[in-house]
């Protein structure tokens, strides 16, 4: 709402000139990368919400047949939560400048993320084996598409994660990688939230 306040200023008035001359440039007291990540996550939110809207619209058509959720999907959810917790642990350690803790947290978090991806692959194969072939069932097609889209985002996160881990192995101290660890963790939590919403949506429908 500050934004709407600000755009009512009259920059040409002497009184306003004095106020403005004392202002630093940035709009938010955050490092640029954090603002960047937030903007990017905004874009990701739009991608997933539009998919969910499309999904809901498609549901209203008569040929909609629900798919069972294999038990393994629940397990995957737990793994993803564990991954997020581990990343958060890395953040806590980074803030306290404890390099070994950061390393462990990051590695565990990454390992769980990889496990999640493997688990998701297993879900798809299981459904396939059950004879739910994607083209004939729109619910399944959406499930596959959203799973894949989500997995791609996790893979992207793993690239950033890999670079951070390499930096730790290369001898960087916790406080030096703190920003990267925080960004990774933030992204992890966000992807967890997205998956929670998607998963609940699958379960409900």
């Amino acid at each position: 709402m500050e934004f709407f306040q600000e755009i009512r200023n009259k920059p040409w008035l002497e009184s306003q000139v004095e106020i403005d001359n004392a202002r630093e440039g940035g709009s938010y007291a955050l490092p640029a990368v954090k603002v960047g990540l937030r903007v990017f996550l905004g874009v990701v939110v739009v991608v997933f919400s539009l998919s969910v809207v499309a999904y809901s619209d498609r549901m209203t058509i008569a040929d909609w047949r629900p798919v069972p959720e294999p038990l393994i999907m629940w397990l995957n959810l737990l793994i993803l939560i564990a991954s997020s917790v581990a990343m958060q642990w890395a953040v806590i350690n980074a803030r306290r400048d404890r390099t070994p803790g950061v390393e462990v947290g990051m590695l565990v978090g990454g390992a769980f993320a990889l496990a999640f991806l493997a688990g998701q692959l297993l879900v798809v194969r299981q459904l396939d084996a059950l004879g739910y072939f994607a083209p004939t069932n729109p619910a399944l097609a959406f499930l596959y598409m959203l799973t894949a889209l989500h997995a791609v985002h996790i893979l992207g996160g793993l690239v950033a994660w890999g670079r951070t881990v390499l930096r730790i192995w290369g001898g960087k101290e916790a406080h030096e990688v703190r920003m990267s660890v925080e960004l990774c963790a933030f992204y992890w939590h966000f992807l967890l939230a997205i998956w929670l919403v998607l998963f609940l949506w699958f379960v409900i429908t």
């Binding site: 440039g25 990368v33 903007v39 990017f40 083209p135 598409m145």
Partner: protein, 586 residues
């Protein structure tokens, strides 16, 4: 007026700009090819966009030849015609205009105008260009695959886009969708830079309301693009799956040439909603930067502040917000729930109010100005004329019931070319004539510029103004050949031939323009610093063209808004943003 006594001036130190890792190129490759300097990326974007835009231009000539002289060109088959229509539209809207305004002007002007050293994520910014280049190459590749590029129209409506009755329904459409998805990925990388740089990297004193309107336009357009492109991204993925894997997101039960296909249950209208949820903001993604740039051109060349700056900012933001609730005005006759028509007609006509206010303020900027009829100014004035014309025909098409007889006719073609083809392109030209001295240190040739302007403006008006009237007759668009009908008079054929000739002449004028650029880069008259006497920061750099890091050792500090023209009590008719108040000649 107070005499300036240097003793009294308290020296204000440089702004506390955090030490940026200034990008220094170490080799030819990193200086000119894999370069992270936004200005180089801007030029790379610009050259690529213009190159693919020339392809789009040539495609339009071939289409016009077919429409103007349907008997003469036997090599243009109905399939080829549709493929050219499609590729022309897609290239011009996405790969030329979007890339040019945001990728090129955005990259060049944002850091310079807000007083930043560079974009905040230079590496990502570089990747953005390379992904864009790959998207363009994938697009070009579709010309060479079996079946050729897609001929589904730039809207790519399913089921038609992926069924065999449409040219390029195999590899062509898939490459198109892949190219779009790549474009969106690349754009998102760039867009993050534009938004975060404007938000976070402004120099000291550069408040939001001191930014030139160019930056406001680019900023809002980028936000729109970041929010709108995902819709195209999602629908591109879904359509690719429909096409390749045979899913039925958008495909209902279909009988194609007497044969039942395996699809069922999908919704073609859903695609249209997703497409236009992207497609309408896309219009403003192209228009808003043009609005911003033309505001600055008018102001600088009329030596007068933009009239009603705050209203201009509000209008840009308001139009941007409203553009997300008007999309279905492209779908009045699409078979969607007809009651949506009431809502979308209302929102669409509401958007006309802030747009009209912008037009008034542009003309009121000229009022009591000191108008210099430079070439950028000529283009800016021509923009006002063509934009008002195209905006008004938009009121026809937005007003749901008027759209019924006019939709899918040449009226629509004339409308959108006038409003988002001609008008923004005129701004692009004006902007190039305006900023060329900054980018190259040389002026563009004035005589060639005059020729280019007059032929382009008058020619484009002669092409598109009469074309509306073909739409009133009821001549449908996307017709390879209209042939014999009971309702189209023979004189319409002459009009079509006339339009074709005009289009070829206008096209030729663009060759002169490109020749002008190439010659002037090497042999143009040396430009003085700040030849237009502009106030904004990009003209206040240490060297021209600006070097790496833009501003030399000290970042500029901003003391006033970008429109201090003809301020009472000052000697010069402009005061640059970064001149300390005590140094202003009074």
């Amino acid at each position: 007026m107070v005499d300036v006594t240097p003793e009294k001036i308290e020296h204000v130190g440089p702004a506390e700009v955090p030490e940026v890792d200034l990008y220094h190129a170490h080799s030819w490759w990193t200086k000119y090819v894999f370069c992270q300097d936004a200005k180089v990326i801007a030029i790379q974007y610009g050259c690529t966009a213009v190159a693919i835009g020339l392809v789009g231009l040539v495609l339009s000539w071939i289409m016009r030849l077919q429409l103007g002289f349907p008997e003469f060109f036997s090599f243009i088959s109905p399939e080829l015609y549709l493929q050219f229509v499609t590729m022309h539209g897609m290239i011009m809207v996405i790969y030329l205009l979007t890339a040019l305004f945001l990728g090129s002007f955005g990259n060049y002007l944002i850091p310079l105008m807000v007083g930043a050293r560079d974009m905040v994520f230079p590496y990502v910014n570089m990747l953005s260009f390379w992904v864009y280049l790959i998207a363009v190459l994938v697009l070009c590749a579709s010309f060479f695959v079996p079946g050729g590029p897609t001929g589904a129209g730039w809207t790519l409506y399913p089921p038609q886009a992926i069924l065999s009755g449409t040219p390029g329904s195999g590899a062509g459409i898939v490459l198109m969708l892949v190219s779009l998805a790549l474009f969106i990925v690349g754009f998102t990388m760039g867009g993050l830079n534009y938004v975060v740089t404007i938000l976070q990297a402004r120099t000291r004193g550069m408040t939001l309301m001191r930014m030139p309107l160019t930056i406001w336009g680019i900023f809002t357009a980028t936000v729109l693009a970041l929010l709108a492109f995902p819709a195209l991204f999602v629908s591109a993925i879904m359509m690719t799956l429909d096409s390749v894997l045979g899913t039925s997101f958008f495909m209902p039960a279909i009988v194609e040439f007497g044969e039942q296909l395996a699809y069922g249950g999908g919704s073609p209208v859903l695609f249209q909603h997703l497409f236009w949820f992207f497609g309408h903001p896309e219009v403003y993604i192209v228009a808003l930067p043009a609005f911003g740039i033309v505001s600055d051109l008018l102001s600088i060349h009329a030596r007068r502040h933009i009239f009603g700056y705050r209203m201009m900012v509000w209008a840009i933001v308001g139009i941007g917000a409203l553009s997300f609730v008007v999309w279905a005005h492209h779908m009045y006759v699409s078979g969607m729930n007809p009651y949506f028509g009431f809502f979308f007609a209302t929102t669409t006509l509401i958007i006309a109010v802030p747009t009209a206010l912008k037009v008034y303020n542009w003309t009121l900027t000229l009022w009591r100005g000191d108008i210099h009829l430079t070439i950028p100014m000529l283009f800016a004035i021509a923009f006002i004329i063509t934009f008002v014309n195209g905006g008004i025909t938009g009121l026809f098409l937005g007003n749901v019931v008027v759209d019924v007889p006019l939709s899918d006719t040449m009226f629509v073609v004339a409308h959108f070319h006038m409003v988002m083809g001609v008008a923004p392109i005129l701004v692009v030209f004006g902007a190039i004539y305006h900023w060329f001295p900054l980018m190259s240190g040389r002026m563009l040739n004035n005589a060639m510029g005059q020729f280019h302007f007059w032929v382009t403006f008058v020619g484009a008006y002669l092409i598109y103004f009469p074309m509306h009237y073909l739409g009133f007759i009821g001549v449908p668009r996307r017709y390879w050949e209209i042939g014999e009908t009971s309702f189209i008079p023979d004189s319409a054929d002459s009009l079509n031939a006339f339009i074709t000739v005009a289009a070829l002449i206008v096209g030729f004028a663009q060759v002169v323009f490109i020749y002008n650029i190439i010659v002037s880069v090497f042999r143009g008259e040396k430009a003085e610093r700040n030849p237009w006497k502009a106030t904004s920061l990009e003209w206040q750099t240490e060297t021209v063209p600006p070097g790496h890091g833009n501003f030399g050792e000290e970042a500029p500090v901003v003391y006033r808004w970008a429109y201090s023209f003809s301020v009472p009590g000052t000697v010069d008719d402009y005061v640059p943003q970064n001149v300390h108040p005590d140094y202003v000649k009074k």
